[in-house]
Symmetry: C2
């Protein structure tokens, strides 16, 4: 699955969050990053070709006035044209659509009674409406709040979550587990130390065993449910 990350930030070089995410993506992944604010002008043909070539589209931006930055708003108007993105002859139907959004207030402020009063789900409704119009599958956004206050451990966890958000095939618990197993396998192949390799392999075997146990457990629970409901 090929992922296109459309990054919008008017001051990308001085954004700690964006710089951190920029250096957090491993090379060799099937991910294209595309910085709108670095373009001297928007070439609609190039932009539309990028959309055609990728299966998963991610908007990555800081929340400005509860909306997307100007460069991304302009991109929508110029690139998502009728006959290409929606309407008769549209070719973008069925893409997966994700959002990596950062904001400086705590997440708990984004709810009724909080300082910001509305949830991020409510605030991002215009993008959800866009996904609906385009026939794109809307994924739960990856929310990065108060990056400046995160400690090293939280930042590491964020990088893992970010990498997973950009590269994991499918959603749900099973898909997540598969993703972690694949990451471990890569790590094992890249490790030179035999001891480290042996340790990683032990972790891998354990995760694999857990997964099989879990699958069996799910199967048993489903069977019991079906019997109780008289199927």
């Amino acid at each position: 699955m090929k992922t296109l990350v459309i990054v919008a930030h008017p001051d990308f070089e001085h954004s700690a969050t964006q710089q951190f995410l920029y250096h957090g993506l491993p090379s060799g992944e099937d991910v294209t990053r595309h910085h709108l604010d670095k373009l001297s002008e928007l070439d609609v043909t190039v932009e539309q070709q990028l959309l055609r070539e990728h299966d998963r589209i991610i908007f990555q931006f800081p929340l400005y006035w509860y909306s997307t930055p100007t460069s991304l708003r302009n991109w929508q108007d110029q690139v998502l044209t009728q006959g290409f993105a929606f309407g008769a002859g549209a070719v973008l139907n069925g893409k997966e659509f994700g959002i990596v959004v950062s904001f400086s207030d705590a997440l708990r402020e984004y709810q009724a009674g909080g300082q910001e009063q509305y949830t991020i789900s409510e605030i991002l409704r215009p993008l959800q409406a866009m996904a609906h119009k385009l026939g794109w599958q809307y994924r739960t956004p990856l929310m990065i709040s108060q990056f400046a206050y995160k400690n090293d451990e939280e930042r590491l966890a964020l990088i893992m979550e970010y990498q997973r958000y950009l590269t994991q095939a499918g959603t749900g618990f099973a898909a997540t587990q598969e993703w972690y197993l694949a990451q471990l396998a890569t790590l094992i192949a890249q490790t030179d130390s035999e001891l480290a390799q042996a340790k990683l392999e032990a972790v891998y075997e354990q995760m694999l065993a857990n997964r099989d146990d879990l699958t069996e457990l799910h199967w048993t629970v489903d069977m019991i449910k079906n019997e109780e409901e008289g199927y």
Copy 2:
């Protein structure tokens, strides 16, 4: 009450809706119209002074990708700065905030199950969140759907509604009635024909009598309620 209408439309001259609204506002009203897309560049000092001088701020725009046009998004980022618009030392608290929004689909499509899936209230949530942050009083938006399909009668009704939205002091039934009475009084003063003037005066007297009857009725109903509740 002084009203500032901030108009954003990248092709104002060719928008039938915007042209219609432009010619629909009577002169002499305490209304300033300000076209963002006509400015060669945004002078933040001028913009902030305009905000200071007006009590009611209106955003007037077509809905593009369920959001505001680029010029208005940029205006927010540049003009609504910390220390001026929000935060310590902010001077814009307490303004009235209205929205005149146009869109090409029927209003009934903007609901769960409709083609657009979400209501205009949901889609405009980012502006509601902005109003909340700025301490502005959010008014029910004036929604203009499918202007192209409106007949002459509907367009006349729209102009009345638009003028009222921009100039009426306060909200609610009583305020609306006062506004219509004031409009009639102006019309009577401007009419040359004595017969027409007499007719308009009769209408005016009738509206005035109705208003007084209604006020008395409200008073009686309130009294009955209070007696029943034992106050």
